[in-house]
Symmetry: C2
Subunit: 307 residues, 2 copies
């Protein structure tokens, strides 16, 4: 089973309006909402491909109940820890363009975090892979992902970490199996410079491997044994939100497979899955036939020459 | 007791952001929320002045529960009818200026409306005045306020109607004691032309009196016996949201007082209450000392010469 963790789960709300005019009043024509947050998106991709996946994280308040209801309707299993605060909403105002408002999220108390770690360790016993992704809600210490990585490894699970800022930097020291920053997150954590050099600096901080998602420039996987680059099948236009989550989903599925980790095919799979997500208007959705078509188009990457 | 009715109750949410840039992503610095809708604002003003007030209307879903919780924390009595749909939110993005997104509100079924009318008639037995204000949620027939006006009058309560469009036009025929449009609502219901002439046309459609709120131009009260105009105490800058609700609150309190209705002092009171609301940053809040000071400043209006 693959366990995805969304500590700052969100209710993603979309408002359709006829046009966005600052400093005026707008009639919202339609309201759509669904459960979101990076770990939820990863789980949606995995579930739609038939993987055995379970969502956990923290939810609370009215928005938390709506997150749980939405996942239940979608048929994606979830076991969240409860908090007293109210889960955040993200409001995206769509008028052709998209304008996004991200609430910061609820304060989490030390006692709530202690209780969640108990639940998390219990769930890890059945998990072969744990995906830790997205921002931390207020009140959590920045080493929260480091703690969960240690818990997961103690239960024998492999860990993929997709985080930013201090949560990423501190998480690396707990030695996750894969760290998956995008190019901006990599630069923040490892400093500026050529991507492969920065990825090697990140690797030196603890993880067994680093995969950098670079949008239209594709993926770069860096391990102590070598590095591989893979490009998207073609130039795609669409919705890049969730493309990084599809990369995490593909890598988690590869970590979950028995046998040795095959970097070239895992990266090719991740590039195809990410591309198929870009074609979907909603983060976390994937077009399975586009995914299969892209898989045919992508050549397995050959190792880069050692530097 | 004064009963205020908010059929499309709202959770008013305010997002503080550093600046609003369309087609970009915003970190919300702070989220504030409280119960809203015109009838709720009327009740807030009345409660802060010590009046015996009860809120009713329709609420549902997570937002509905948050509306009820907020009123409970504020100590304002409320007895809502429950609906299956989710109450609307209004999101106001504040970055110096204010940009507002109004959700349309929940669909209300015929059965829910039937049940609400039963509750409403029960509450009317203890009400001397009923205030019907604000938009109707989807699914309600446009004559909803006409039905409630008839119910209230059958129980011996006096009725103030503050509505727009078809809900106002159809409500007038049920002969409320006061109809309180603003200038734009008046023009939509009675056609263009001088305000007093339009107000007399509205009067001919059924209500016992019409009070037009005209912002900085003050109030005009029109009855079969004469008309009175009153101007604000001085030019005010501030938040005009809720100024009309303060007018409704003052007129409801005057309807509630025993003895004959004293138009000049009721209108002076309404102008002072409205002005004191403009000085407050939040709709439904009123500064009691500003209200008392304005009351001293406003001369009681003398009757207009018959036309």
């Amino acid at each position: 089973m693959i366990l995805t963790v969304t500590l700052n789960a969100a209710l993603d709300v979309t408002y359709e309006v006829d046009g966005l005019v600052p400093n005026s009043s707008h009639r919202v024509r339609a309201v759509h909402q669904r459960a979101g947050g990076k770990g939820v998106n990863v789980a949606r991709v995995l579930a739609s491909l038939g993987a055995d996946v379970l969502i956990t994280g923290l939810i609370g308040g009215g928005a938390g109940a709506e997150i749980a209801d939405d996942l239940s309707r979608a048929g994606i299993p979830a076991r969240f820890g409860a908090i007293e605060g109210t889960s955040r909403r993200t409001v995206t105002v769509v008028a052709g363009d998209a304008t996004v408002f991200n609430e910061p999220g609820p304060a989490v108390t030390a006692e709530e975090w202690r209780r969640f770690r108990g639940l998390f360790r219990e769930l890890c016993r059945d998990a072969r892979v744990v995906v830790l992704s997205g921002s931390l809600p207020p009140g959590l210490a920045p080493d929260a992902y480091a703690e969960l990585t240690e818990d997961a490894r103690a239960e024998g699970a492999r860990v993929l970490l997709d985080a930013d800022h201090e949560a990423l930097r501190l998480g690396l020291a707990a030695r996750p199996d894969i760290a998956k920053p995008n190019a901006a997150e990599l630069a923040r954590a490892a400093g500026p410079g050529p991507v492969e050099e920065a990825a090697r600096r990140l690797l030196a901080a603890g993880p067994a491997a680093v995969v950098v998602s670079q949008g239209a420039d594709g993926l770069l996987g860096v391990t102590p044994d070598g590095s591989w680059a893979v490009r998207p099948p073609r130039r795609l236009s669409g919705n890049p939100t969730g493309a990084g989550d599809a990369v995490a989903a593909a890598l988690a599925r590869a970590l979950h497979s028995p046998g040795p980790f095959d970097w070239p095919s895992a990266l090719a799979d991740a590039a195809a899955m990410s591309a198929a997500t870009v074609l979907s208007p909603v983060a976390g959705d994937i077009d399975p036939s586009a995914y299969r078509a892209f898989l045919q188009e992508i050549a397995c990457p050959s190792p880069r020459p050692p530097r």
